[in-house]
Amino acid sequence: MNPERREFLGWGVAAAAGAALAPGLRLIELVQARSPQEAASALQRWGLLIDITKCADCEVCVTACREENGWTGQGRTATDPQWIRKVNLRDKRTGYAQTLPLMCQHCEHPPCVDVCPTGASFKRDDGIVLVDKHICIGCRYCVMACPYGARSFVHETVSGQKADVPRGKGTVESCTLCVHRVDRGETPACVEACNRDGGKAMVFGDLNDSSAEIHHRLRTEPSSQVRPDLALNTGVRYQGL
């Protein structure tokens, strides 16, 4: 077979394959809200991008999270649950101060999942790290393993839970990325509140979706992870840190 003929045949096969695939088929599906009958898929990876330069000196995200998920403190800071908190940073030499919200970073390689003895701490296929409270025994290994201090233990009897957010004494909990809202096709409560009443610093989206704003900004603008040295590949990214 001479080279020209081989090349010609190659083009013919490529064209035939293209024609066979083209009608109604995408090799990578577009991202949209899932139906309740559709399982979370590894095609997506949910993430957050937080621009600290826009992060205002407010607690709008924390308040929104508390209201959405129904975690309220008893005024006992040592034992109260905390899903998201504002962290204040100050450069000792220059006095330059920054503030940022810190919550579960939804790592690709979560240490909390590694240490869980029962499999209660797990990562969903779409990258959201959760606690299955049905099988959590409250050992708190994950609380110790998390480098971000994102997990808390429920020390006291809970009542008045939200229907979508079951919580109970003796289990560990943390930011769920508002998984019940994400499953409905909405954004997390903190993001919604920040964009409505806060500094418009937070963007939520699918890190794998090339048409998403978060994907575009991560590709074109500088961003960083908290503790990148741990190589956890966090789903929550920061700008201006």
């Binding site: 009958q37 979370a40 959760l130 299955d132 008045g160 839970q161 229907a163 079951p166």
Partner: protein
């Protein structure tokens, strides 16, 4: 010694017989309240009554795996939907003295752990029941 053993055996037999009579029929119903099954809403449940009575815990167990781990929030076997239909009209709850869940569970002496974490209260809005 043999006589004493025989005597003790007789006393035990009498005691057991008396206990057996006391436990029978009417008096049992008086001591343990019979469950109250009030259907507040909806014509039919997601499965026939016999199946629901026997297997509702299996259904919930299976659904909780699907919901928590796979994110499948199908309404059919969701606990939220159970509560929305079966919560009492007066208290809005499936617990309490005549609560749909608690009255049966206290009669059967089976502890119910769902509502340690999940809310037993009906949420506003109509429930969707699909077979």
């Amino acid at each position: 010694m043999g006589q004493m053993v025989r005597l003790a055996g007789a006393v035990l037999a009498v005691m057991l017989t008396v206990a057996g009579f006391a436990d029978a029929g009417e008096s049992r119903a008086q001591r343990v309240a019979l469950p109250v099954v009030k259907i507040e809403k909806g014509a039919a449940c997601v499965a026939p009554t016999e199946e629901m009575r026997r297997d509702h815990s299996e259904m919930l167990l299976h659904q909780r795996e699907r919901t928590v781990h796979q994110g499948l929030r199908e309404p059919r076997f969701s606990l939220k939907n159970c509560v929305d239909c079966h919560a009492s009209r007066e208290t809005g709850s499936v617990l309490g003295k005549e609560g749909f869940c608690s009255s049966c569970h206290s009669y059967a002496a089976v502890s119910i752990d769902c509502f340690e974490c999940h809310t037993p209260l009906r949420q506003s809005g109509a429930a969707v029941v699909s077979r």
